[in-house]
């Protein structure tokens, strides 16, 4: 589904991703962990097409297409979704209007009819229930005045509405209380299917108790330096990153 080869990216002349490789097959869940500033969000941004980051080398293939050639909107139409680490507030743009526009632009790109009002409302109701998002929030401006946790739920709600092939969740668990974590994780689990894959960026093993990954990767200095099963997350929880940093720094 997604094949990242030797990806290099920089921002403002500073190199952040330094030859990153990752293969994701349909239905798989990949967890990405790693110290602060190692490049996890940068990877997510680059995949979603944020122009602030410049790809200087490497390739990304998504479902047989050159992802890097596509605009952010086209990537979304192709089935890629990024749940932001810090979802921004957009005053004056209503959540509902925004989602309807997003769904219809995707449908248009795929040559489909626009969604009917009835169908849309039914979908909003169903998907909001999935993450127990308060209906009132759906009618407000995008993320405006939402609490940290509400913003994260809204991201997953949007993901559920857009039904992507690949969902990238950037620290969706941070800022969630214990109950919300369980609810959001359940929501994600319900979206799991043999065709749909996920990249879950997290600092905490706790999330991975709920969303059980097939692979756990450690990102350090813009590269994946370790890959293992879910037990790697447990090991990191116990030992931290120092031992990996040490080994890697010695190699360098």
């Amino acid at each position: 589904m997604l094949s990242i080869k030797d990806l290099h990216a920089e921002v403002e002349g500073k190199s952040i991703l330094n030859g990153l490789n990752l293969e994701i097959k349909p239905g798989e869940v990949h967890a990405i962990m790693g110290p602060n500033g190692s490049g996890k969000s940068t990877l997510a941004s680059v995949l979603a097409g944020n122009e602030a980051f410049e790809v200087t080398d490497g390739s990304v293939d998504f479902e047989g297409e050159d992802l890097l050639e596509m605009g952010p909107d086209e990537r979304s139409h192709a089935g890629l979704f990024l749940a932001f680490q810090y979802p921004i507030e957009i005053p004056g743009v209503s959540n509902i209007n925004f989602l309807k526009t997003a769904i219809n632009e995707k449908r248009e790109a795929l040559g489909q009819e626009p969604i009917s009002a009835k169908e849309f409302l039914a979908m909003v109701k169903e998907k909001a229930a999935l993450v127990e998002l308060d209906n009132k929030l759906a009618n407000r401006s995008v993320n405006e005045g939402f609490s940290g946790g509400e913003k994260k739920r809204n991201e997953i709600f949007q993901m559920a509405m857009l039904e992507p092939k690949l969902g990238i969740l950037d620290e969706t668990d941070s800022g969630l209380d214990i109950d919300a974590l369980r609810i959001v994780a359940n929501g994600v689990n319900q979206l799991r299917s043999p065709e749909r894959s996920f990249v879950v960026v997290t600092h905490y093993q706790r999330l991975l108790d709920y969303i059980v990954p097939d692979f756990v990767h450690v990102l350090y200095n813009g590269k994946i330096v370790r890959t293992g099963g879910k037990e790697l997350a447990l090991e990191l929880e116990e030992k931290g990153y120092d031992w990996i940093k040490k080994e890697e720094d010695q190699l360098a």
């Binding site: 944020n50 909107d73 921004i88």
Partner: protein
Amino acid sequence: MMNQKDNKTPWADSLIASYAAKPESENLGELRFPTRKDEYWKYTRTNQIAKNSWSFQDAEISSDQVENAIDGIKNCVVFINGKFDAPHSIELPKGISVANTDAAVESFAAEKPFNPFRILNEALPQTCLDIAIENNTVLDEAINFVFIYHGKDSVANPFNRVKIGANSSVKWIERHIHIGEHATFGNVCTQIRLGENAYCGMDILQSGTGSSNHHEEIEVSVEKGARYVQNSFTLSGNWTRNNTQVSIVGENAEANLNGFYIPAQKELVDNHTIIDHQVAHCNSNELYRGVMLDQSTGVFNGKVFVRQDAQKTNAFQSNGNILMSDNATMNSKPELEIYADDVKCSHGSTTGQFDDEAMFYLMARGISKSTAQKMLVGAFAADVLELLVHEELHEEIENAIHKKLG
């Protein structure tokens, strides 16, 4: 010292000759147009107007053209090149009449910045729209005053006089529409007096062409307990200058001036406002927002005077601008002059680029760049649109904004 005659604009004589009635004064020869040195005109060039040859014209306009311009607009009272056009107008409601102006009324504002456009209108005023509302009257059906400007090098000097009696309430929509490919020059002056506890609400829509010039001066006096609301939307037009001067002369009164402008290509939009708080316990609010595209220029100058007696004044002013292109320019200047000590005044002016992060967020959800731009500009304009006196204009203005964004 230069002879006054030498200052004469080349077209003054022929302009006077084309004026239907004999003008009160023939001293247009002294008309001088501002230069960069005139503070009040610092950012707005007037030489293209000064050097053109203008005249009053009855140029042919077909009924189709008029109907096209007023298509979909209800309750129209139409003026073509400054003259009342009965065939396309509704029967005038009680209190509203159209007369030939004998003479324009002199400015009653305390501050009188140099304005040759006003001098021109005062010297050669055209049909006067007279709105005289008795006390205790409510006129709540929206009337559209539609001013159409057309014809090669034609000037129009509409003069409007509004007097609203005590406890009365009036609202209307003003539309200024320049049509055709020729240079046109609309030069409007409006004087509004609100009696005690009166309300006046108006929405102004200005649309022009690639060679239109539009100057509009509105002078308002607000008596005790009265409330004035003015929203202006400059949607297109090569050159547009709006001056609004509000004198608040009675206590517990309120003035609200708002505007939105979205110039493109080489268009210029200039909004100058003066709010003069002369007495205590009054409020004023100003919200102006603009989106500058291409090589366009925006100007905002908001002066607020709080006189010595105007204690407990609340004066709020905000001007926000987005530059959508590296070649667009905005000149924004709030000016507060406060002579009273117990007042709350705030002003803010921001000019920035488009929010890339918000764009990316929307696009990452599958929304195209052009739709995302429309959504964000729409959201920016929404705070002004929410203040519309006539809510039903919301969609029309939003559509015009979208059209402008392409």
